[in-house]
Amino acid sequence: MEFILAAVIALSAAALGSPLLQAEGRRFRVSAYASIAALGVAIVMVAANTAYGGSVSYFGRLLVSDVLGDLFALVVLSVSLAVAVVSVYSSHSSQNMPSYYSLLLFSALGMLLLSYSADLLMLFVAWELMSLPTYVLAGFDKKRAESNEAAAKYAILGALSSAIILYAISLTYGVTGTTQISGVVAKVASEPFNPLVSVAILLFIVGFGFKMSIVPFHMWVPDAYEGAPPAVATLFATATKKAGFVAAIRVVLAIATVYALAPNSVFTLANVFAVLAVVTMTLGNVAALTQKSMTRLLAYSSIAQAGYILVGFAIFAYSQQTGLYTYNAVLGMTGSLFHIVNHAIMKGAAFLAATLVLIQLKRSDLDIYNGLAKRMPITAFTLAISFLALGGIPPLSGFWSKLLLFLSVINTPLAWVAVAAILNSAFSLGYYFWVIKRMYLDQGESTERVNEPSGFVVIFAVLVGLMIGIGLFPQQFIAFAHAAATSLFT
């Protein structure tokens, strides 16, 4: 736990210190480098915690250090680091950059604490610490109308989701008399069926669902991603989205181990997750196919990916309710967690590639991607690899997590989810390959080479290396996800 404290202190210090550099005027890069260093320190500390920290509780059991928390903390901090690095290049208004980095670090701190939360109140505080800075970040291009619109939309829906979560927490407290998650689970298990708990669970799903961007709580996603500064959109798609998943795992899946949503076999948590999964992936993919802007395409693709992740939740809930298919549930949750890691890498690469195109060519419509392979070969290659990985094509990382997810339901009563997910995967390749065709086969408006800054190139190389490397040698990553998944089974 000392390691996590060190990470928290590093992030807090840099977040509080960054605005002090505001007065220095042009030397905004100092705050950028300080933030990058703080995030680097935090990642090292979390990694050290993964290696040496045991499973311990802290602060009166507000925080718990476990493998699940380590996994999420590593993902969200790494993404924040990548965003911090590329933000150096996308700074339109350098004057405000120290505040920008401060907000980014506060959000990262919130996500770090959220990953380890073991108490509903701690979880809510971390949730707000994560969310509030992102509302400002979404509107950071204050001269652009779209950015303002994105910020307003995101803030209103974000506040709504926070209110729903808070209401669910109050209901839970009213029924069980505690905010400690393990206490809630124990209390729920000992009591007979109580519809209020079901209402609370559904409210939790709705509240977290906004961040997870599952249908029908996804409305803000395309607008916010499109309007926000592109680097911030990367943060939304790959980090704050993950926070929704970790919160759902910590709260909803924990209660699901002891509680059925309703005393019948139709309106069960497993079926709720299964239906949400299929609706989310289908709507995401169909909508993505019709988009004309890369940011919106990525936004809808991101929604679709959330649907795949939910498949693991569905089989987990099913196995907990029936006591059957435990093997499948382990596979499914391993797949979900692994896909969350993979999605951060794949979608991060795609968003950063789109960010660079937007910065250099000032456009994000799909036509600008025609012939991109000649103009920005490294960016085009990164985007192509990330699309193939998102489509679940071997030998790339996305294949393995999708394989685990689909395997987990193929021989269960939820097999229809696997069939729907497979057909969705095939369908999604339609628009992924459409973009690859534009980049590699079509003629662009110009064939002039466009500069690709070294910071981006380094990050692209790391991400492409990860996608191919995990695809070829997934052993360590699957083992890590598996360890985190088994910790959910008590």
Partner: protein, 498 residues
């Protein structure tokens, strides 16, 4: 012991990057490098083919013992989930590996004159494609198989889409959508196989014969659709005429010659090998699909106005033989049909390959492959014209070409299963009919005034003649393929009758 199979598998993939670099540096050196890599691969493939012929295990071996060579390493192993790197070769895969290596050498030589832009990427992709296809034939683990199965399509998408004909983008997208949909449906079958046994495994030798019969049916259907799109069978074929006619000729050679064999190989190794009881129950339906495919292919080919589309549909008909022969064996218990199917895949690589390569040279020499615009090829482009006649005879399955043996075996095997299969004999007759009609119109007709063209180079003509060498060898020494494949087929039959 040298890991000869892994070398065979990874040599072309590893050579693709240096090939790209050398070609970017100096084109002629790069061409020689690519050819050397393809030839080295051919030498290893010949060695493996010979090794299997000399050492194939007889009947009575099970599991890994039924393969002449295997290599196994742990790949992913987490408490509840395991995937191994397991490759092996037997009488079913060794001829297909050899055909792939041989056709790649021919395609590399054939590309020399026909490909004139972005050569570094082109040859690198060809080598990558070769490695991926060999990976499909060697993999004995379903996930490893699926890795290579999908990897085959990425280079092919770019090969068609960048170097293809006028409608190349359309053809590449259509190819991609069809093939990936098929492979996703195939993945359902592979996953069901994994979950169907306890303890779970992806290794084909451990899965064979262990999946309970009641849960074989849906996976069998899914795998048949997946492989059927690749072969292709009617009505899943509609991507094929576009891809085969738009691909550059050397790529069409590989598409028609070896990529389609992937589908036939998968049908035998996975659809029949893993789901034998269901395959037996439904064999009649699949035989019917095979026969319909044959008649459809040959029937549409009659109407083709273009040489390449005629060859594409001829290739579809050829793949119908593979389906008919394989399932005739499952239905009847006589090994002849499936042996014919295996031989058919081997010889089809060279009959279809020679046809598509010639179509490429004719396109280059005359600027068209429209049959009504071609006449007097005999005197306008004598080398290509003469070779075209030979290639057509190969496709008609007449002696002295081994395709004769293959199709006779398939039809006899079919008759063992049901007398109605005898109608298949009409297909070679139809093929012979339209091929001869085409030869009469295009090759033997008097040249119209002013028709001129550039004939293929002497070297190219000589290399094209090499396509016929394995075909002729297979007429007299078909035992080279049929011998090692007999225990494989018998082993499958034992699984069926369990």
């Amino acid at each position: 012991m040298m890991p000869v199979l892994s070398i065979l598998l990874f040599l072309p993939i590893a050579a693709s990057v240096p090939a790209y670099l050398v070609l970017s540096w100096r084109k002629s050196a790069g061409l020689w490098f690519t050819l050397a890599a393809a030839l080295a691969e051919l030498v290893i493939a010949l060695y493996v083919f010979y090794f299997v012929y000399a050492n194939f295990p007889g009947l009575g071996h099970s599991g890994l013992g039924a393969y002449a060579l295997t290599e196994q390493y742990s790949w992913v192993s987490v408490a509840s989930f395991g995937v191994s790197y397991l490759v092996g070769v037997d009488g079913l895969s060794s001829p297909l590996v050899l055909a792939t290596a041989l056709l790649t050498v021919f395609a590399v030589i054939g590309s020399r004159k026909l490909i004139d832009r972005s050569e570094p990427a082109y040859y690198a992709l060809i080598l990558l494609f070769e490695g991926a296809i060999i990976g499909v034939f060697l993999s004995l683990n379903l996930i490893l198989f699926y890795f290579f199965w999908d990897l085959v399509m990425i280079p092919m998408f770019f090969l068609i889409g960048i170097w293809g004909g006028d409608r190349r983008k359309y053809a590449a997208m259509k190819f991609m959508i069809f093939i990936f949909t098929g492979s996703m449906i195939l993945l359902l079958a592979l996953m069901a196989a994994y979950m169907g046994v306890s303890p779970t495994t992806f290794d084909i030798p451990s899965l064979a014969g262990r999946i309970p019969a009641p849960i074989q049916y849906l996976p069998l259907l899914a795998s048949f659709i997946g492989f059927g799109i690749k072969l292709p069978v009617f009505p899943l074929h509609s991507w094929l005429p576009d891809a085969y006619t738009q691909a550059p000729a050397p790529v069409a050679v590989l598409l028609a010659g070896v990529q389609s064999a992937m589908g036939g190989y998968g049908l035998i190794r996975i659809s029949i090998g893993l789901f034998p009881q269901a395959a037996e129950q439904w064999a009649w339906a699949f035989m019917a699909v095979g026969i319909v495919t044959m008649f459809y292919g040959a029937g549409v080919a009659i109407l083709s106005k273009n040489l390449r589309s005629m060859f594409a549909y001829t290739s579809i008909a050829g793949m119908g033989f593979v389906v008919l022969g394989s399932f005739a064996t499952v239905a009847s218990g006589s090994i002849i049909g499936m042996q014919g199917a295996i031989l058919e895949m081997f010889v089809h690589a060279f009959t279809a390959g020679s046809l598509f390569m010639l179509a490429g040279y004719i396109q280059k020499g005359l600027g068209t492959t429209d049959i009504s615009l071609m006449n007097g090829l005999r005197s306008v482009i004598p080398r290509a014209g003469t070779l075209l006649v030979f290639a057509c005879v190969g496709a008609m399955a007449l002696p002295p070409f081994g395709s004769f043996v293959a199709e006779v075996l398939v039809i006899v095997g079919g008759i063992h299963a049901t007398p109605y299969a005898a109608v298949a004999i009409l297909v070679p007759v139809m093929i012979g009919g339209y091929m001869l009609w085409m030869i009469k119109r295009a090759v033997l007709s008097p040249p119209t005034l002013g028709s001129a063209g550039t004939d293929m180079h002497r070297v190219d003509a000589a290399v094209l003649g090499l396509y016929f060498v394995p075909l002729i060898i297979m007429l007299f020494f078909s035992i080279l393929v049929l011998g090692p494949s007999a225990p494989v087929v018998q082993h499958l039959l034992q699984l069926v009758s369990h």
